[in-house]
């Protein structure tokens, strides 16, 4: 019972983390609080579903196309919609408010377009729904795939950030945006890349999400909220932090459901969130002072 609950929690946490990885990049490095994040994810889910049901394109193949699409879309979005806001903003707080307002509008545009195309229906499909036996616990193959993807992406991105030149620039922009230009970093360019990278992650998350769950054109908002909780818990901009926070939430939920009462899962999630905010306001893995 304990072991199976732990595994269920890890798998659930993996999908949570996958959903949050892109947002932590966008918010942490580009300083854009993207409220339309979940809607981009859902757009990717729709594309995957369309590809699978109409053209029999398997989700992993679709991912090869959709992830670059998410990158390009987010890059252009940053260039034409968000960069003017960044240039205009006098300080970080002003940018935060502006970006929240702008992406709030974008949320409605994206939901509207998806509603127009797909209607309000529930969508989903069945792929890799069969179970694999993992140490005696039966787990859905697609959920396991999502877990693997989350770990791979988080570690891969972490390596990019810590081991490459671009990563160094990303860190510089994240930590000292005002000093980064002094060492020859094009802050705007780096921020645009980070935002686009976040969009690519959202697209990857959307592909995985569509394999696991049903969705509607308006499911994005709930995803943005969940992702936001994880991003803040893990420390803004912290990739391994998001992964750990995702796991923490997933495991908490399954343990509360199994050993206390399934009715208290939401309460437990937000209880932990509150606790982290009180004890470590910068997140589990955030730096003590910004």
């Amino acid at each position: 019972m304990f072991f199976s609950t732990l595994l269920f929690g890890l798998v659930l946490g993996g999908t949570y983390a996958l959903v949050a990885l892109g947002l932590t990049l966008q918010y942490g490095i580009s300083r854009i609080m993207n409220l339309a994040y979940g809607d981009l994810l859902i757009a990717a889910a729709f594309l995957t579903m369309l590809g699978f049901t109409s053209y029999s394109v398997l989700p992993p193949i679709a991912m090869l196309l959709i992830v670059p699409l998410g990158f390009v879309f987010s890059y252009l979005l940053y260039l034409f919609v968000l960069r003017p806001l960044v240039r205009r903003a006098e300080n970080r707080a002003a940018l935060e408010i502006d970006s929240i307002l702008a992406t709030f509008g974008l949320l409605f545009v994206m939901q509207g377009v998806m509603l127009l195309i797909f209607g309000g229906n529930i969508f989903g499909y069945s792929w890799l729904d069969n179970a694999v036996d993992l140490f005696g616990v039966r787990i859905a193959t697609n959920r396991l795939l999502a877990l693997a993807l989350a770990i791979l992406l988080a570690l891969g991105l972490y390596l990019v950030v810590t081991r490459t030149r671009l990563g160094l620039a990303l860190q510089a922009v994240a930590n000292r945006p005002e000093s980064a230009p002094l060492v020859g970093i094009n802050v705007e360019q780096v921020a645009a890349y980070a935002f686009a990278l976040g969009g690519a992650m959202a697209a990857a998350g959307g592909v995985a999400f569509s394999m696991i769950q049903t969705f509607t054109a308006t499911s994005g908002t709930a995803l943005t909220l969940k992702a936001l909780v994880i991003v803040i818990m893990g420390g803004v901009g912290n990739l391994p932090g998001a992964l750990m926070a995702g796991f923490a939430l997933g495991i908490t939920e399954t343990f509360v459901a199994a050993f206390i009462d399934p009715g208290l899962t939401l309460a437990a999630t937000y209880g932990i969130f509150l606790l982290v905010l009180l004890i470590r306001p910068n997140g589990l893995f955030g730096k003590a002072a910004g």
Binding site: L12, N121, I122, A131, G263
Partner: protein, 406 residues
Amino acid sequence: MRKFMRRHVLQWALAASVTASLGGHATAQDSQPVKIGYAVSKTGPSAAGAGVTTIPNYELWVKDVNEAGGLKMPDGSQRKIEVIEYDDRSASDEVVRAVERLATQDNVDFILPPWGTGFNLAIAPLMDRLGYPQLAVTSVTDKAPEFAKRWKKSFWFLGGGKDYAEALAKVIGDAKAAGKVEGKIAVVSVADGFGIDLINAARPAFEEAGLEVVLDKTYPLGTSDFATLINDAKGSEADGFVAFSYPPDTFGMTKAAQVAAFNPAIFYVGVGTAFPIYEKVAGTDITGVMGIGGVNASDPKIADYFQRHTDSAGQPPDSWASAITYASLQMLQQAIERVGVDREAVAEELSTGTFETILGETKLEDNQLRQLWWVGQWQDGKFAAIAPAENEGASEPIIPKPDWKQ
């Protein structure tokens, strides 16, 4: 866009009537459209339900009527339907405002109901005050008899939680009496209006039917992972699983049960089981799954309606409230044909008349539709009605449910 179109139509109508009065002809009255308005959730959390059950049927009915030349009037003339539509954005204050606007500014002849129990209750006092008949189709409430008395022009089409719970208890109780199941039930319910109503009605009903509830848990709205819950149910040695769930949960639980190879003799899930998408999400391996609603699977009228709905909306209807929604519109149409666009007379006719709909001969009892199917089961790709078993057209339940293929 929509507003522009409406204004356009209004201008056209105005121009037409001016021309008509200048010319001194009285023919304009006949060709003037009947204005029918509605506010439904096109966006927000309720959009999924409205998009499956309500909107496609409104569109199909208007198309059917207008293609046939319009609504027939008692004098034999025909008038087309002009639709005025608002999005209530899944907010009950918004739906109330929209209904008020439809009645006072758009001056529509009839108002079709929004989707969902809460929204129908929200507009009921207003509809009553404004004098519009309310065909509250997608409203599941045990208080329907009371409401029908309080608001004389309101009509309730989908029964109450008690009806569904008691019918399910009877299906399982009968199976127990026949020695097909032991009658140990694991029941889970969503902690929200519908789930609470049904579980409260189900607890005494299960006891009455001699069933033993071995697991009884609730889960919060928006839960996305059911592996733990299903594992619990599997470990409880229940041979009947009952979930009073909402659509996303219904799909999630089905998938989780397949993965866990959880094969109780009775597998019942809530709202969404009757949706066409259920088959896509759960795979074709769904024979034996029970849920709310059902249709008379062998009725050619229903088969024809499914075909026309598929042609018009690009997908088949759901097998619970869709056919009832369409039938309610047929009733409205026939009532207008008999008494004209007089709202008072139409309400009276709906209350007392007998109608020929896709459900067969349809008649309301105390302003409520009671000839309903309470439990359905997937059989050969159709969500066939199995309870009440004594009604004509009921299919024989498949118990025990065949194991999931894995």
